[in-house]
């Protein structure tokens, strides 16, 4: 399984969980879940690209 697929799956599950935990209405929960999911994916990609110039070893 690719790293990206693992990241996306993780973000969706965590986003959905916190959306449902923090909001009462379905619409609000969906909105919060979506924002969290997208934030996690975008920020992770951003951090990954920022780390790209650093050596692995």
């Amino acid at each position: 399984m690719s790293h990206l697929a693992v990241l996306v799956m993780f973000s969706i599950l965590v986003g959905a969980f916190f959306g449902a935990l923090s909001r009462d209405s379905l619409r609000e929960a969906f909105k919060v879940g979506l924002v969290l999911t997208l934030s996690m994916i975008v920020l992770s990609m951003l951090v990954a690209y920022l780390m790209y110039p650093f050596p692995l070893g």
Binding site: M1, V14, L21, D24
Partner: protein, 171 residues
Amino acid sequence: MEIELARDPQEPPQQPEEAHASVWTLLIPCVLAWLVPGAGHFYLGRRRRAIFFFVIVLVMLTLGLWMDGRTYVYDRGHPLTYLATFANVGLGPLDLIGRRMTYDRLVWRLPANRGRAELVGKLREKIRSPANEYGTTYLMTACLMNILLILDTFDVAKGRKEGVLQPDAAP
């Protein structure tokens, strides 16, 4: 003359009053939430939400185990392993599956001498798997989610959240 007692718009909205719950009305849902993810919410009437939480935690746990994730055992030499093991135990009986799959037996402590080499060998086997780090993260997240669910159940039972003991409209 009738005086209208309207709420001052500047006044902050009132928090829902905390129900005067007995120890048992708080303890039972929390224990249920620890035993089965979402069971505390189910007991408190938030049934759809409970099923949703159960599915999320179960999917997270299954993916973690599928990706060769490992549970933690506490080691006196590494104090942070106490926290990790505590988090694992927060998943309740489902944690036993993770332990069984990681160490082939139920163990929570890394022995000081006898049996240590065998256990470390099992851990190394897991760590060699390319997806181990991801799997362990998934597994640990499932455990932490259940701990959050226990705390949320406590809040609902205490009356700190709206919709207590009423069917909810959320997922």
